[in-house]
């Protein structure tokens, strides 16, 4: 991406073609995620929807918000925000999923070995 020679404080100016390309990709992705949701893929629905949403979000951040030109520090700040968000989500989620695990004297004996689950 050729930076604009004349700008004095090496400000990176995105090209119009890049912006339009990203715009189109985002619209297509929205259409795709809406269509995919109509099929019943069980567990996979949420995974695909989130994958598409994440790609769209990274595209918006990388190009539209110009993260690709920013300093290392700003990139670190973006990632830090997401890391602490995932801490909140994952640990809270781990509480709810592990609540119904049974506690028994022999934690290593899982349900299967006791013939409980099919």
């Amino acid at each position: 991406m050729t930076t604009d020679a004349k700008s004095h404080s090496h400000v990176h100016i995105p090209k119009v073609s890049t912006l339009v390309k990203v715009w189109i990709t985002l619209l297509v992705a929205t259409f795709v995620t809406a269509e995919v949701a109509t099929f019943d893929l069980g567990e996979w629905n949420i995974v695909i929807a989130m994958a598409i949403a994440c790609t769209k979000a990274t595209l918006v951040a990388w190009i539209f918000m110009g993260v690709r030109f920013t300093s290392q520090l700003t990139k670190l700040f973006c990632v830090a925000g997401l890391v602490f968000l995932s801490i909140l989500l994952l640990i809270t989620f781990s509480d709810y999923s592990s609540r119904s695990w049974t506690y028994h004297a022999k934690p290593w004996a899982t349900n299967k070995s006791l013939g409980l689950s099919k």
Partner: protein, 546 residues
Amino acid sequence: MATTYPTTPEAAAEEPVNYLNVEHGWKSWLFTTDHKRIAMLYVFSITAMFMIGGTFAMLMRLHLTRPEGIFAPETYNRFFTMHGVIMVFFFLVPSIPATLGNFFLPIMIGAKDLAFPRVNLLSWYLYIFGAIFAIYVVAAGGVDTGWTFYAPYSTTYSNSYVLSAAVGVFVAGFSSITTGLNFIVTVHKMRAPGMTWMRLPLFVWANYATGLIQILGTPVVAIALVLVAVERVMHVGIFDPNVGGDPILFQHIFWFYSHPAVYIMILPGMGVISEVIACFARKRPFGYEFIAASSMGIAILSFVVWGHHMFITGQSVYTGIVFSFLSFFVAVPSAIKVFNWTATMYRGSVTFESPMLYAFGFIGLFTIGGLTGLFLSTMATDVPLHGTYFVVAHFHFVMVGGMLVAFLSGIHFWWPKMTGRMYSEAWARFAALMIFAGFNLTFLPQFVLGYLGMPRRYAAYPPEFQVLNVLSTAGASILGISLVIPLIYLTYAWKYGPKAGNNPWGAKGLEWEIQSPPTTFNFDDTPTVTEEAYNYGEEVEEQRVA
């Protein structure tokens, strides 16, 4: 906003121009963007809110002198809730960052002001707006949910001013966010030439780490309070068990902020203590890099330990085990700091002025506070101690014995720089000892009460606990009175105190090289830093040692 300079020569000769006398009139205070003036505005508002919170504490201790209490149970419930809300959100969280941090962080890194002065003023107005809501709640009838606002009591069953209290805390939260944002950007972008990260004073490190927690934690409590407020208005919500909601989810989101919040409260205090001990021991802090790294370590690790508040509230045992292990992890950096402070005094040249007395108090009380925390992160002992006075004593040891004592130490250490006047050392030492004695008499009995099983937030308690409660009330009255003494002699000193030179303590640091009180732009020209922080040489100063 251009600032005007007094031009008359004799005005300049008689009293050098500084940030206090450069302008007068309420406009110069209410629309200032000078970080030092905003810091002083915060000092007044913080002290006012501390007094309100303190009165509730005294009323509670008065009530608890008799097993059946003096006031009605509902009133007592409002007392402890208002004491909690005002002290946590309106004194402990903002105090050191907003007052000493605002004042000294820019000067210590050689900057003229914080990165966003107008946002700094907005932070004070948000604090005042939140405080007005809190005072409205106090006047109107108080809130009785406890400072933790647990659902479903806060959302469905309490009929006190929960909504207004939630709005007040929500707004005060944004004041904390704006301060944190200012600190982070200032430390990153506005350090003087030569002020590398490893030459930053430890007070700046501590406030930077606090800024990170304020940024990453406060929004989550903001959304928790919004959800409680909306659920109260719409009579149904995601924490309402009648529609399948789970009240424990509120506790997860609430404590995700509120545990890091206790590190927001203690980290700046640790920064002050590192500065004070380095100055009065005439030593570069032992293991400077480890103290700085442990500040950052605390800031990051504090976000993964919140579950130790919920071991027996129905959280799954497996998640409890993970939280218990990580809670021991977060205790290590605090231990490193205490050991390094102790080692700093080895082969130093220690004097015992009042800031240093407070620093000794801090190390002792913070150590006991920290160690009693281990009782509560060990799962088995948390079962009998959860929700008892042991927990109350633990967090008061860390908050009052730690943060408040560090705040007083910082105020005394930098008072000559902030006001240009020296306070009376004799009164200061007396007050320090009285506070230390009153504090211990108040909270040591509460450890025993907690071990014997007396629950917290009880308006009436079994008669066998009365003796210890009366002891604690006696201590509280000593503590209450002796906290008023600094208020008197410090304000007296501001008016009539002897002039303090630029460096009354002979300390190292950029803030001691400029005039006290400083000029509006701190430095005539931006300093370049050549030597490392705390560069106390090996020379002996006669006047100090006499």
